[in-house]
Symmetry: C2
Subunit: 600 residues, 2 copies
């Protein structure tokens, strides 16, 4: 089912009618218009696919830069702009400036919002001062600031309509993820897994910012909004206290499982999907048990937060393989059967395909052949370990124990993929996945929890797989079978979000700073352009004045670019990334810039 | 005479032979090769004219962005890159990073030099943390850092060959101007006219950085290197103690006359040319007399610093009309006579044409019709006021006195033109001048000198001429007659350096961020592109791999952009520029980016 794929043309004037009765209806209409890019992934299904097809595999080689815009902020620029009518909304990392740019006038600034935030939030941001962007609904632009303030801005003026505090940076809670508008609510996650934050998702009323519900990743059922009987895990009720009974004592209170990915939503099922992150600390010996529901795929009802189903991918994490990466909704024919699937590329290196109606596990396969910590997932429904990954002792940091350096684990902690979102083309039936091709040494050590202090408990170093040079691949994936269809090597991790288009072209950016266009069917490179800085932003497309445009934020940083972003040189700093990505300094320097492309 | 206009093609390998016996010979050869851009203005005559003509008035409309590079530094980016062989050298404002970029590889970083400088230098930089760029000679790249360190970097490796301190930031002395390599010397000026610095130019040995000579702008003849008999002013010997006898007491010791412009050099005459800045303080009542040799055109011998001739444009300045702007050398037929001319567009709003062999004044006319502080220069050689501007009482801040706000003075303190260098095309015989079209209110007040503290003594506000909207014009000027040939209005001052080319196209940038190309003959706009930030850099062209490229640094700031650059909002801050240019915030934000253009 391609439920948002009908193009309708709305006039720009009609788009920004504030106070629309049902924000969801307006949003569904707006995302049906391929000329707009109205939410982080373009539409609710998280496919990052556009029906626009002026730019094709045949002509993309002639792409030109149309205009550019410097954000005035250094450090890592994740996320991407929104486009609604004649206006583009661009955000920045801390201090989280928002610009409304006039598309009729080469990006002239219509308004600018710059929050005043305590810079003391910066040291509690684990992996650069990133922000993953904005959402739109009800005539407002929503921003989740670093200090966890969720702010609603009038889309026409930038005036603050309301704001609410979602967390406490004093406890290590920070805002890095984009808010998501679902129906009459703004839903937002929390960051801080390296500070012992207990993850949650929270829904606020789109009109006034009043909190409607909050669902934690662990804790009593009343906190997780899990129903012991109705909430299922691989088809079975989870039973009572599932959010506490795999934890020692009260460790769940500092249990991690943060929630900073890109959420998707199925209006027909009225469920939204997201992943929870690593359990805290990174030292597995310190927290016995499965640590539920860290590392989990979640399906919640947006109206009340109730959990329909969960699936824990990496019980008792030993490697920081956060499960936060996006869930992509696509309907696929698997084994002759049409399935409403959810596809997820996890940090742990496995590409999962599930039935999103009930969480049934359909496929779990390595999307990087170098993944070695597991031999794969037990797919035997009758097995007591059904759905669990089989861990290889040599790469088990639990097995090897504290203060032992487990060497050669693949992938590294930043995973075979991190937050950089994949795309899906219903035309090819393929998923386009920006990946990391990085291994690590990992030495856990005992750490004591202090609120607001790092609670990591491991020392890391990162490097490409032995004997290889490329630290990344951009791959096409068949999620029906769990197979790589083609793979384009890259010198560094591909930390940019992908974009698939009806023109048969897929776009992504590289850490060196190239925007690249490849053939959706073959992966053949069709175009590249060196933007001002390394790209960790997500590629967006829209149409304005009858022309298709492609836009991307550059601005090197993020976890992979933390050495450049924060000026670090100790190779073990940045949780091992500084040494791993030291070569980036030969290609690029900091600087946030939007580059907008079009055909001549 | 077009003495550097013969194109010769040198192989890239031959260009970087270190230790060439005569740096000047190598430089003359390199600047004869239009493929290179080996010194700030392209060549010694300061014409900023290139013989390259792949890009023409007919095809410039098809220009595209080839690649881009973020410098990683915010605030104002003045100056422009050098190109030598396969390498481009790019500098930044404070902290004055230098990058060597590989032209064969989309600007991959070959090396990076980042000095450690005391950030306390920033508060003693009057008008943003700008740096105007690099010079090359003897296999070395020369940088004049903010802290006045002149450093020589191995052009191949970036290693420091030598460094020397040219001044003392503790006394307000800073480095903002590009060094200039002339023969076997590196010649550098000093900034700090708003801190009572006594200006000077200093020559250092290109081999080891040893000081060879220093010539001050005021002081005893032994300091100024003026010969009372041989040094002439409008054809007459200046007489003894000309650098002290127009000052009260020892005021010359804090006399200003700083020297931060773009120098030119005539190898045949063996003279180099530059201007000196405003006398300190800006309150004219506090410093009676002509304040020689502030506000002066200088012709010095590079071998020993001896002064051949001087011409003071604005005796006893009352408006901060620094005379530092560049002197352009061009040979023109004036009144049927071929003259070796020097053309200079002064802050005071007058365009001067002089005979550069002897300093004879040929033309002095307003290059902005709104200039109102003077009715013009007395051109009667028999008059006792020959060569002096006739001052209008209404706009004389001396006449109106201390603590009186003189209103409606045109131009404003930043002049009808500031440091933004003009270009000259020998093809059209026209000068292309980026201008400010700004007036001011100016209220002088009494100020006490304290070393290292601002010594300004005036409060200003700036605005467009009454009844007009445009704060800038890009004009073509006939320096033989002193007439504007055409004038393109711009919303803001044109604070970018111009480039003239043999393709019949002239380039400049705007504070909003547009690179523009206009027809050299008519001024008709042929192309514009919105770069990431406002442009205060100078446009450069070069050829690589058989293609002509055009390059420009964007990065808004400088005096006009100081509100954005330093985050100031009080309209009177930035010596009145913050209020005057407040509208810039609607167009652009900070960020240093190099944008490189070429034809498809």
């Amino acid at each position: 089912m391609r439920y948002f794929l009908t193009t309708t043309c709305l006039s720009a004037a009609a788009l920004l009618v504030a106070g629309t009765a049902n924000a969801n209806e307006e949003l569904i209409k707006l995302q049906q218009d391929a000329k707009q890019w109205v939410m982080p992934a373009g539409n609710y299904n998280n496919q990052r696919y556009s029906q626009l097809k002026q730019i094709t595999a045949d002509n993309v080689g002639k792409l030109q830069v149309a205009w550019t815009f410097s954000t005035g902020v250094l450090r890592g620029h994740e996320g991407g702009p929104l486009v609604i009518g004649d206006t583009m909304y661009v955000h920045t990392p801390f201090p989280n400036i928002v610009y409304a740019l006039d598309l009729k006038n080469d990006g002239k600034i219509l308004w600018k919002y710059e929050p005043k935030q305590d810079p003391n939030v910066i040291p509690v941001m684990c992996c650069d001062t990133v922000n993953r962007g904005l959402s739109y609904g009800d005539g407002k632009i929503f921003l989740h600031q670093a200090d966890t303030t969720l702010v609603a801005l009038d889309a026409k003026t930038g005036n603050v309509a309301w704001s609410v505090k979602n967390g406490d940076p004093g406890k290590g809670e920070t805002g890095t993820s984009a808010p998501h508008v679902i129906k009459d609510k703004v839903i937002v996650g929390i960051s801080g897994g390296e500070f012992g934050v207990r993850g949650s998702v929270t829904a606020y009323n789109i009109k006034d910012g009043k909190q409607v519900w909050r669902g934690y990743s662990m804790g009593p059922d009343s906190d997780t909004l899990i129903d012991p009987q109705k909430t299922t895990n691989l088809g079975k009720p989870v039973g009572p206290n599932s959010g506490t009974n795999t934890w020692q004592g009260e460790q769940w209170k500092i249990g991690g499982g943060t929630t900073w990915g890109w959420y998707s939503y199925d209006p027909d099922l009225n469920l939204f999907y997201y992943g929870s992150g690593n359990p805290s600390t990174w030292n597995p010996k310190q927290r016995p048990g499965d640590n539920r529901w860290s590392m989990t795929v979640w399906a919640r009802d947006p109206d009340n937060g109730q959990v329909r189903w969960v699936y824990q991918m990496t019980p008792h994490d030993e490697w920081d393989f956060d499960g936060v990466n996006e869930m992509i909704l696509a309907d696929q024919n698997i084994g002759g059967q049409n399935r409403k699937t959810l596809v997820h590329f996890d940090r742990n290196g496995l590409g999962y395909t599930l039935d999103r109606t009930n969480g049934e596990l359909l496929v779990a396969q390595k999307f990087d052949p170098k993944v070695n910590w597991t031999t794969g997932v037990d797919m035997d429904k009758n097995s007591p370990t059904y759905g669990r990954p089989k861990v290889v002792d040599q790469y088990s940091t639990e097995h090897n124990g504290e203060d032992v350096n487990s060497k050669g684990i693949c992938p590294a902690a930043l995973g075979s993929k991190d937050e950089q979102p994949a795309a899906y083309s219903p035309d090819t039936g393929l998923f386009y996945v920006p990946t990391n091709h990085v291994c690590m040494d990992y030495e856990p050590f005992r750490v004591r929890y202090t609120a607001g202090q790092p609670y990591v408990g491991a020392t890391l170093s990162m490097y490409p797989p032995p004997g290889e040079q490329n630290m990344g691949n951009f791959i096409a994936w068949d999620a029906k079978t769990g197979k790589i269809v083609w793979s384009d090597p890259e010198e560094f991790s591909v930390w940019s979000g992908a974009l698939a288009t009806a023109g048969g072209v897929v776009f992504y950016g590289t850490l060196e700073g190239y925007l690249k266009a490849v053939d959706a069917k073959t992966g053949k490179q069709l175009y590249k352009f060196k933007t001002p800085s390394g790209i960790i932003g997500n590629v967006t497309t829209y149409e304005h004045g009858g022309k298709q445009y492609v836009a991307v934020l550059s601005g090197v940083g993020g976890w992979a670019g933390i050495g450049l972003a924060a000026g670090l040189t100790d190779p073990t700093a940045g949780l091992g990334a500084v040494g791993g990505y030291a070569g980036l300094r030969n290609y690029t320097a900091l600087g946030g810039t939007l580059t907008v492309f079009t055909l001549p």
